[in-house]
Symmetry: C2
Subunit: 478 residues, 2 copies
């Protein structure tokens, strides 16, 4: 590596460093990397590199820095907001995909920790932990294909945040390649470490703009062996919230899931995903999946479900309820919930939003956002599905493909309706992105909803860690 | 504020901004602020300011910045490593004590959150949360006098980390005054918010070097109403670790405390603190306090304790055990544990250390550190007390006052013995500061144990956020 490297000579230099098999340059080879899985975002890349080691990642960073070519780090490409693919305009970056870095480097059941490389699939991590009697709790629809590195860079949420926190709360340490190619080894597996600025939190949720996460030390938990699930139809979101509070008071951290869904969302799943059935006999306006988990005492879980739901039925807070009787029924209930993304992709054009508000404000949010959307398009279908215990509601205005195609300016309509929803969240001290991240969809929203002081502080951090705008330039902080 | 402000005119300008009552300049008034509670660290201050509002904090920062005088933010002054008082040399800073900012701004039981100002006493926060049926879990010996701001700036640990994490994990948002006087309002109470770099984690644990925390949004939990405690004598630390694992498997997050103590430490407490008694009839080499907590099912907790400890006694892992029969007995057990700092201060000169290692390495750490210390001073008394479930062991070589005074160079002896202990921790991938922070004691250790890449990254962040070295210059990152 003696000669100066330029944009023109970068590909051969990358091939020298990684081997030709690890550098994909031809259009047919890289289309799966430059386009998002829903086909909504598409960009150009100079090439795709697939390093196998941290040293190779460092080599790529140094070469790209020397050539002045930006890098877009990429995991399983399952982003819901265009975060994992290049922008439609601007200089084509090198896509650095971590798929080949998939070693599990260490598992320590007694310490409750494991060290994995960024390219490990989330499901593999879950299964490896379970294999030693421990739980890695992060769980979400894309877990069969998303990579740990992507879940870290987006601070992924999912269905277990209520009990175990976001991805951020389940990380003990990181290994990161910095903008000058330096490898920061912060792979500690300690529960406590107060020695200086906590650097790992800079990179978690930074969407690849500050460094490239190559490995992580993850926190494992005691593995719950008992699960009790119920599906019930609350009278309305306010009733659901009241019942959430009762479960929290009654059984504390045994409450591991509390997912709400409206009738339209359930109908989309039933109509578009094979082998899904309505858990209740009749149609209801609102549905909740509640899960209790424990390391022992299955009878106690059942008793809490039976008593809490029974009382709520007597008081008219719930219209109907069913408790899953066995593992198959429990799996079926979760399948209904996890089929939402697939159903909504097939069914129509859904304007996905990802707001969170204080838990106490969820009913008001749903109500006000519905009114705001219907003021623009009266009677429009709205799918609502959310992690109610976290205050995180995906409020999704839905157009049939035909209605969408018939709009004179569908792009503007999308912007207007999303703004209706996000404005309501902002008014309730909420956020426009609870768990999906900023990606491309959220970039203009950062400008709209973030304070000047906050944007300025983020820009200061970005300029300090990535002074030459090498990592994902233009992303995250507008 | 039209005239240029200088070091000479700063005090009157501060008096103009805050009122004369809020600026203490005379030596007798400020001695409680310039000396630490154990009398080990003492420095000079230009004055002490006691602002009542965030705006006033911002005013102080602007004035000090203009005068080129550094600021030392201070809470309850309970640091165990000189972190809250000025250095013995260097320019005298303005001490900015947050004691008068003690409003509880908001409590939302349904959302599980509260917003408090930095000067609130930890115990007040705990009690306010309990008043609405919620738990703020951070708990430590100094909770009656330490301020929330100090616990945030040091990412305080304590006895409930095993179940609820460090202070960091219990924060939802912050309000911070930055180096140019800007107020960053990040007081969100959301469980999920993925909109950009997570700035709050920069300031948590930064020991006042990056900004001044003026208020925080804290995370509250369901309030456990049932507590079962036992005190037992494990055969050795390895047996204690084995029993820890059994409790984790048996009852998951019900395990809320697992504190180990050696015989010497218990003897110090019994000899030096009135009304403390040995929970067991006989003397034993090792002692463990285990606590299970739950929102329900007290009988279940008792059953787990009885069964797990009973089996361990049969297997010879435990020599004796007692289960607390009522609230008084439970309080007595915790009093023994919480009396350690008081006892050690009275008893002798204790060379406090604060290592954490992977939980699986705790027995090896205790063994190797003991050998290392005894290689320097054969037979030296060692008090050991630790949060075993976090891998955090306070390993404390003890000298009688007479023996300490008789040493030709006690300062060097202290450095040598602490280095013995910290080196063992480092060899086991541990840390020299699990929960106390860096303060003044740890500053040379940062240089010794941190990688160049990590120190460089911390310096980059410091230079970006505090370019003129206004906040606690020279602290945290050497």
């Amino acid at each position: 590596m003696n000669d100066a490297v330029t944009r023109e000579t970068l590909i051969p230099r990358l091939q020298d460093a990684l081997g030709a098999h690890a550098v994909l340059g031809d259009a047919p080879d890289i289309v799966g990397y430059t386009e998002d899985w829903r086909g909504r975002y598409r960009g150009e890349a100079l090439c795709v590199v697939l390093p196998s080691t941290t040293i190779q990642v460092s080599d790529v960073v140094r070469l790209c820095a020397a050539a002045g070519v930006p890098i877009l780090p990429q995991g399983g490409n399952t982003s819901l907001c265009g975060g994992a693919v290049p922008p439609a305009d601007g200089p084509a970056p090198v896509i650095l995909n971590l798929a080949r870095m998939r070693q599990v480097r260490q598992v320590d059941a007694a310490n409750g920790s494991m060290i994995v490389e960024a390219g490990c699939i989330l499901k593999t991590v879950q299964e490896t932990a379970a294999g030693v009697g421990r739980l890695y709790p992060v769980s979400l629809g894309a877990e069969g294909s998303c990579q740990i590195g992507g879940t870290l860079s987006t601070n992924a949420g999912g269905t277990s945040v209520l009990r175990y926190g976001n991805t951020r709360e389940n990380v003990l340490g990181l290994e990161v390649v910095l903008a000058d190619g330096t490898i920061w080894d912060g792979l500690r597996v300690l529960r406590k470490d107060n020695t200086g600025i906590d650097l790992k939190h800079l990179f978690i949720g930074a969407e690849g703009t500050l460094g490239i996460i190559t490995a992580a030390a993850l926190k494992l938990h005691p593995l719950p062996t008992q699960h009790s699930l119920a599906w019930f139809a609350p009278r309305d979101p306010a009733a659901a919230q009241q019942i959430l509070g009762r479960f929290q008071n009654a059984c504390g951290s045994r409450l591991s899931g509390f997912e709400i869904m409206n009738r339209h969302q359930l109908d989309r799943v039933l109509a578009n995903v094979p082998n899904r059935r309505n858990p209740l006999a009749d149609a209801h306006a609102w549905h909740v999946l509640v899960e209790l988990s424990d390391t022992r005492d299955a009878d106690g879980l059942e008793a809490v479900l039976t008593q809490t739901l029974g009382e709520a039925i007597e008081q008219g807070l719930i219209e109907d309820a069913v408790i899953a009787a066995n593992d198959t029924q429990r799996a079926d209930l979760w399948e209904v919930r996890h089929s939402v993304s697939e159903a909504n992709k097939k069914a129509a054009v859904g304007l996905t939003t990802d707001c969170a508000v204080p838990v106490s404000s969820v009913p008001e949010f749903i109500d006000a956002a519905t009114r705001a959307v219907h003021a623009v398009v009266p009677g429009l279908d709205i799918a609502i599905v959310g992690h109610m215990g976290d205050g995180n509601v995906h409020f999704i205005p839905m157009f049939s493909f035909a209605a969408w195609a018939a709009l004179p300016d569908s792009g503007s309509m999308g912007d207007i309706l999303r703004a209706c929803v996000n404005d309501v969240a902002a008014r309730l001290s909420g956020t426009f992105s609870a768990e999906h991240g900023v990606g491309q969809t959220g970039l203009p929203l950062m400008q709209r909803y973030k304070s000047r002081a906050e944007l300025a502080l983020m820009r200061t951090v970005k300029a300090a860690l990535d002074p030459n705008q090498l990592f994902n330039p233009g992303r995250l902080v507008p």
